[in-house]
């Protein structure tokens, strides 16, 4: 029987083995971003801003012009890029420690200014590359290397809900939270990223997509159990949905 190729890798994705841990979903999200870039014909005019942590290595996989930002500063760097080069398509790719902790000021103000950029926010409730420390999104009771007894509401506060916070800001055109734990949610993630990209292309304002994803290594769970945790624990705390869409408010 002759083999027929029915599903291929987007050209903008590098044909290299991944360095990410087994079960990590950065690769899934990279692929969705890559598909959206190709479908909108944006590959040649894209400038990406990579952040600190595991997400910095997006430039090894998504083959577009990229500048690396200091920890948390990707929205400010992306602001500089977009202001300098208005014809470019600009997206930043950040993790939760980066965006919701050290970079809280930068994300809030870039969103509030309505910068014409798109921010992909990967939330896995933990600092990944530094070895599993508590993040602003760490859930109550979740054990990390810096809250070994589990995050305590009275001591450390509760998890930050970034999509809800960002949606309150005036310059935001689109803000959603999705997950990549099953095919249905992956498809929704792609729709959300497409819409976030569209708001930049249509000059509507700032686009933001929070994506719930796994970190099996630091969660100390198998890839399968990690994926199940998204559905059982994370989604109830971080509800999926579109929190703002300028197009639907008119």
């Amino acid at each position: 029987m002759q083999e027929q190729l029915v599903f291929d890798r987007p050209d903008v994705l590098a044909d290299v083995p991944t360095h990410y841990c087994p079960g990590c979903q950065h690769g899934v999200i990279h692929r969705i971003v890559a598909e959206c870039l190709e479908e909108f014909g944006l590959v040649e005019k894209t400038i990406a801003v990579s952040a600190i942590g595991c997400s910095v290595f997006i430039y090894n996989y998504v083959l577009v012009d990229t500048v690396e930002a200091p920890h948390g500063r990707a929205p400010a760097v992306a602001t500089g890029v977009k202001r300098a080069r208005k014809d470019a398509f600009v997206f930043a790719y950040q993790g939760d420690g980066d965006l919701a902790s050290i970079g809280l000021a930068e994300i809030m103000h870039a969103a509030n200014r309505g910068e014409r950029i798109s921010v992909i926010f990967v939330n896995n409730t933990v600092y990944g590359m530094t070895g599993g420390q508590m993040a602003p999104t760490t859930m109550i009771g979740q054990k990390t290397t810096t809250c070994p007894g589990g995050r305590c509401l009275e001591r450390e506060g509760g998890p930050m809900h970034m999509a809800e916070i960002i949606a309150t800001l005036g310059g935001v055109a689109y803000c959603a939270r999705t997950a990549v734990n099953n095919m249905k949610n992956m498809a929704q993630t792609k729709r959300a990223i497409r819409r976030a990209f569209e708001t930049q292309l249509n000059d509507e304002g700032f686009g933001f997509v929070e994506i719930l994803a796994t970190c099996p290594t630091n969660w100390k769970l198998s890839p399968v159990a990690s994926n199940e945790r998204i559905g059982k624990e994370m989604i109830p705390e971080f509800p999926l949905g579109v929190f703002k869409d300028a197009a639907k408010e008119e």
């Binding site: 040649e44 500063r73 500089g80």
Partner: protein
């Protein structure tokens, strides 16, 4: 060359110099005593099709500079001492990623909140790196409104020539005083600037990555060696003013506003028969080491005067080591120096022979 001179403050001269040099992106955050710069550029920059952003912090403004610089666009941020401390993170990343940008520090008194008056307390921070890691920035120190204009104008060329951040280290005195300034003919925007490295969207070429992360074995060592060689090559940019140094027995070494004030003292003492001169470094990095050493070789003695507790004097001593030494007089921040304030210290240094 425009013949018409304009009567402006040092801070405004910096803003005008940047505009005329083709700067098209400005990011800043208010802090005294440099607010004239963002205030002028908030209207002047958009009027010529440029971008002005009042950032949420100095941290953000320096990172916006990083982003614009990565695109090969002439960009600038300005601040004063506490704000420049916050910018050091991005300056280190820009040095590591080899990005050109201009950062202005109108030095005020410190440490901490200090005061808003003039000081030279940020010399170490400016010339020894300031942020983390082994790196250097070109540092230019204006002593007049004309130099504020000229050095800012030229800073952009230097930033692109070396793909490196360039610092202008001014101070509250030079920023707030007002003098006639002769502007230059504005530079046209060069679309080819940074053609072989800047981010434009990859088009048909291979993607470019501007980064300071080098994890592979030996990769960082190679990058840092390359950077070191670049910093050494900056020696070609050394600038200084030598005033009455030829027959001087004692040479006062001072930079920026203090150099200018000391020049008045030197002129007065010359008229009274004292063989004194002035050496004013204009580039603080690269430091005019060879030139000072040559003067030491001629048997001259040195007195370094600074508006701090003694910072540049280290570099003067390094320059003349093995041949001569330098006395030091520190005029403390929190006070405004006059030429008379330097009279006694210079006379004492002359007698100390």
């Amino acid at each position: 060359m425009s013949a018409k001179r304009i009567f402006i403050k040092g801070n405004e001269a910096i803003a005008q110099g940047a505009l005329d040099a083709g700067c098209r992106c400005y990011f800043g955050y208010p802090i005294t005593p440099q607010n004239d710069i963002p205030e002028k550029l908030s209207s002047a920059m958009p009027a010529i099709g440029g971008e002005f952003v009042q950032a949420e912090s100095e941290v953000a403004s320096a990172n916006m500079l990083l982003g614009a610089a990565a695109c090969g666009v002439r960009a600038m941020t300005t601040s004063s001492s506490p704000g420049v401390s916050l910018m050091q993170e991005a300056i280190s990343y820009m040095a590591g990623s080899e990005l050109p940008g201009v950062i202005v520090n109108m030095n005020r008194g410190g440490p901490g909140l200090g005061d808003i008056g003039s000081s030279q307390g940020d010399y170490y921070q400016s010339v020894k790196g300031g942020g983390h890691g082994d790196y250097r920035t070109l540092v230019l120190a204006p002593a007049s409104c004309q130099e504020c204009y000229d050095l800012t104008f030229e800073a952009f060329d230097l930033a692109f020539k070396y793909r490196n951040p360039v610092l202008i280290l001014g101070d509250a005195i030079v920023g707030q005083m007002k003098e006639p300034v002769a502007p230059r003919a504005p530079l046209p925007i060069d679309p080819e600037a940074g053609a072989d490295w800047k981010l434009t969207g990859r088009g048909q070429r291979a993607p470019r990555i501007l980064k300071s992360l080098f994890l592979d074995d030996g990769a960082l060592a190679g990058q840092n060696l390359h950077l070191q060689q670049k910093y050494q090559s900056m020696q070609a940019e050394v600038r200084y003013e030598a005033f009455e140094t030829a027959d001087a027995e004692l040479i006062v070494v001072a930079f920026g506003s203090i150099g200018r004030i000391a020049k008045s003292t030197v002129r007065t003492l010359r008229a009274k028969g004292l063989k004194v001169g002035l050496f004013r470094p204009i580039t603080l990095f690269p430091f005019p080491e060879a030139e000072l050493r040559a003067l030491a070789g001629q048997g001259k003695r040195f007195l370094t005067i600074e508006h701090n507790l003694g910072q540049m004097v280290d570099d003067v001593r390094l320059a003349v080591r093995g041949i001569a030494d330098s006395d030091f007089f520190g005029f403390l921040p929190g006070n405004m120096p006059t030429p008379e304030d330097f009279d006694a210290p210079i006379r004492a240094a002359v007698k100390g022979a």
